[in-house]
Amino acid sequence: MDDLEFRRAVFADPSSKDDRLQQAAASDPTRQSFLNDMRQFDDSLSEALKVDVPENLAERLILRQTLESHQQVRRRGRVHLALAASVAFAIGLTSNMLYSTDNNDIGTYSLAHLEHGIKHLYSAQEANTLTQVNAKLARFGGKFDPSLGQSLGNAVFSNYCDFNGITSLHLIYDSPQGRVSVFVTPSDANFDFVKDFGNEQFVGRGLTFDKAQVTVVGDKGQSIDGFAQKVEESLTWEI
């Protein structure tokens, strides 16, 4: 192995276990020290490349997949639902009640989303600043006003989620009245708008804007009016 070949091999892979390279280094102190230098250089490279991984990334990846596969099951389940519906029709039940799980309104999706993610979400403890939240909101053409938005506090959870195949944003805040979820869905997704919705666990409010539909959801019994109003006032949209 000549000098040039040696240097090229070391530059290409300083931690190589190649025998020829090892021998070439062992037989010549200058080469050995060159190899040591390059290994040190590589250590500092790998140190410099060690950026922090976002908090709870693994949990969020698992959560997102759980929600996704839940939706797949639902899609498959629709055939059965159709069968059930026609039977129900035959015996003269009102089909409204049976179809209620298949509503295309924004409230139903918000509630379904919360129900299936609930275990993960209660433990969320991130501190997403307004800037970080706004970076995610940018995708929808919106942002929280820098001063008005401060009154919402830090988001303890912020992640894109999936509303029937439409990428939406899920934010969670600690409000004085308890945890509140905010969902942002692009308005071109054409979900039906509902102003008030809820079930035995949650209560929600829909807000509609040109570019997006937003829902604010809290626990049943919790007053969400104040928080919903703050959200409505502080959201601004690109023209």
Binding site: F11, P54, L57, A135, K136, R139
Partner: protein, 187 residues
Amino acid sequence: MVFGGKKKDNVSVLSDMANKQKRYEALVKAYHGDIFRYAYWLVHDHAVAEDIVQETFLRAWKSLDSLKEQAKAKSWLITILRRENARRFERKQFNLVDIDDHQVVDDHALSTEATMEQKLIQRQIMKLAPEYREPLLLQVVGGFSGEEISDILELNKNTVMTRLFRARNQLKDNLESNDSVKGQYNG
């Protein structure tokens, strides 16, 4: 009888699902860190990197059955990630205004953790042309061998080794020429 058979099928489908779920969670836990770091240095933006990582793992979940050899899981994920990153350019571009906002956050996060030297190295790594940066990242962040890198990038091994050589060569050159003006980097 018909019902009996059906029930059995359902049970095995469910246990397949449970197995798949376990495999997926193991995959996430073992590799999300490396995959995120790789994505970050590919795009140099936390939010975008996280977005790509999310898409990558979602796609990995959907095609988990095609991963036959566990030993190749990491390079399989990297291949998906590179495809997702390429797809990003085909899709409608993200709003660029707020990416600026975000880099302010990144710099802040790094300044508390990284030393001056590390910041210089990071800056020089981002200055490398992508065709040099990528094999270097695969080697240093991913821990892949020359053969594995040539598989992932679909290049022959000699080309990969030449690019790795040039990447380090350029980095060293640039860092050394930077040393002389280091004093100017006070802010």
